[in-house]
């Protein structure tokens, strides 16, 4: 059965960790075929939130902030720039009743300067 594991933390606390540990664990999980997708997100200051109401797309700086809304799903996408990501996000059907937070992905980088081989 599939599960989604979401990583939450205070950004300051994460800053003290290097990517090495994460890359090691990630490599292990991928080796045994259990990891279907994994990415690190850029900090929340890079977030953009999109909503569609009455056919109009509204774009706001920052993460989604409604306390009544709960996480319902995810899309990991490829886009050339934020505008394209916004176009894609605004077409996700639940955007018309909820919010879509768009966060750029951060590439993991080990202390030796190595990137993940996927």
């Amino acid at each position: 059965m599939k599960y989604l594991c979401l990583v939450y933390s205070e950004e300051k606390k994460l800053e003290t960790m290097t990517d090495d540990e994460c890359m090691e664990y990630d490599a292990e999980l991928r080796k045994n075929g259990q990891c279907l997708a994994s990415e690190s997100l850029q900090p929340v200051r890079t977030a953009t939130t999109v909503k569609v109401r009455n056919g109009k797309v509204s774009v706001m700086d920052g993460p989604y902030a409604e306390t009544k809304e709960q996480l319902a799903g995810f899309y990991l996408i490829n886009a050339n720039d934020l505008d394209e990501a916004i176009r894609i996000a605004s077409s996700i059907p639940p955007a018309t009743v909820g919010s879509i937070e768009i966060r750029p992905i951060r590439e993991l980088l080990s202390t030796k300067g190595e990137r993940r081989l996927l």
Binding site: T48, M60, D61, N80, D81, D83, P104
Partner: protein, 419 residues
């Protein structure tokens, strides 16, 4: 002789900086892909001009020279720093490979670059205050100190806002593009919002002693005019018209001792007629297309006022009609309020008062001092002293601007003596 030519060169460079630096920056940002790299390149280019032009003479196409030099200096600088960070040498290669053709090519699409810059600075994914700060800094060339003073914040706070905005542009990859035709209406809206916000900060300072801060308003008008040159859409014309028409009353809006003067009491001889003609012409142009919007309509209303020789000549029926169209486009309680005031002029204070009460009873505009002062005024005209007093007091409690407070206190005082 040498002294003269060095002076002439220096003067030319200064003039070029004043008139061209923002345009050159816009092009450099496109070529180099980064705001900060482009700003460094701009300064390096002008520094190089100051060194070389006295010896070599002023080039035939100074702007192209500056863009070209700025670009090469940036690539050079990247290569030098690449010794410490290998990823930079790849970037330098990419930038160099993008070799633009000779000078002329750099001149083409300069308007496009300026539009790219404006749209990027006003991108909706940036926080609202950052858009304003970034636009004033990158497009208008104001210093962070000047922006800080204008918005009653510190220069360093503005600087930080700008740094964060540039980081977001980089990290979230906000593209340096003119929006596509489907995206354009919404994106243009955010740009116009920024421009009008800047204008309003200058037109009526949100708190403090003097009612207007002239510099921001003229900056906003300049920005609006630039936008009109680049993108003559009806709402752009409408916004420029609105700003010109409001600005035309600057000299009449306050008395010599800083007191607020209402529209109906203003000395119309002090209105700027040139601005009024320009504004009225733009309104006509905007309305003649079928694609006008709220700014054009507000400008049309302002034009009706501006073209009345005396307050008694004001065509209030026309104004109510324009408000009706405006309400069809944007259901805003503030517009409803303004319409109510106009209705009072056409059909009597009682009708106007009913409309204002309907808004307040819905729970809207209860914190808006102008709603209460408008209500107070209509009550006063109807002889309803006590109700007028209550509304004036409510308005007073809600306004922070000194001239407005003095005006309201004066009205309150007048009530007392009549009662």
């Amino acid at each position: 002789m040498r002294e003269n030519s060095a002076t002439y060169v220096r003067q030319t460079i200064n003039e070029l900086y004043t008139s061209e630096s923002r345009r050159i920056l816009a092009t450099l940002i496109r070529l180099l892909g980064d705001f900060d790299v482009a700003e460094d390149a701009l300064h390096d280019a002008f520094a190089a001009a100051a060194e070389q032009w006295p010896l070599e003479g002023i080039p035939a196409n100074p702007r192209a020279w500056l863009v070209s030099t700025g670009r090469f200096k940036a690539i050079d600088s990247l290569r030098r720093n690449a010794r410490f960070d290998s990823s930079l040498s790849q970037l330098a290669d990419e930038l160099q490979a993008d070799t633009p053709d000779p000078a002329q090519k750099l001149d083409e699409g300069v308007e496009d670059d300026q539009l790219r810059l404006i749209f990027t600075c006003c991108h909706p994914a940036l926080p609202a205050e950052a858009r304003v700060a970034l636009t004033l800094r990158e497009v208008c060339g104001l210093t962070t100190e000047e922006i800080g003073r204008a918005f009653i914040t510190s220069g360093p706070t503005i600087a930080q806002r700008i740094v964060r905005a540039k980081s977001k542009i980089r990290e979230a990859r906000i593209p340096y593009r003119i929006p596509s035709s489907t995206e354009l209406p919404a994106r243009l809206d955010t740009v116009l919002q920024v421009v009008y916000l800047v204008f309003n900060e200058g037109y009526s300072a949100s708190s403090g002693d003097s009612v207007t801060r002239a510099d921001l308003s003229s900056e906003a008008i300049r920005l609006g005019r630039l936008l009109k040159e680049l993108l003559p859409e009806p709402e752009v014309l409408g916004l420029v018209a609105l700003m010109l028409l409001q600005e035309s009353r600057r000299n009449a809006r306050t008395s010599h001792d800083g007191e607020l003067v209402l529209l109906e009491n203003q000395n119309r001889a002090l209105w700027n007629r040139a601005y009024i003609s320009e504004g009225a012409a733009l309104v006509e142009k905007a309305l003649s297309t079928r694609r006008f919007g709220p700014y054009s309509l507000q400008a049309a209303i302002a034009a009706v006022h501006a073209q009345a020789p005396t307050p008694e000549d004001t065509d209030w029926t026309e104004i109510v009609g324009l408000y009706d169209v405006l309400l069809g486009l944007t259901s805003s309680p503030v517009v409803e309020l303004n319409r109510a005031v106009a209705v009072a002029m056409c059909d009597g204070a009682e009708k106007g008062l009913k409309l204002i009460d309907a808004i307040l009873d819905r729970g809207e505009l209860t914190d808006y001092h102008l709603a209460h002062s408008a209500r107070a005024d209509l009550c006063r005209r109807l002889g309803k002293q006590e109700e007028a007093r209550i509304s004036y007091l409510t308005a007073l409690a809600l306004t922070k601007q000194e001239p407005e407070r003095r005006f309201l206190e004066k009205r309150l005082g007048e009530l007392g003596s009549a009662g």
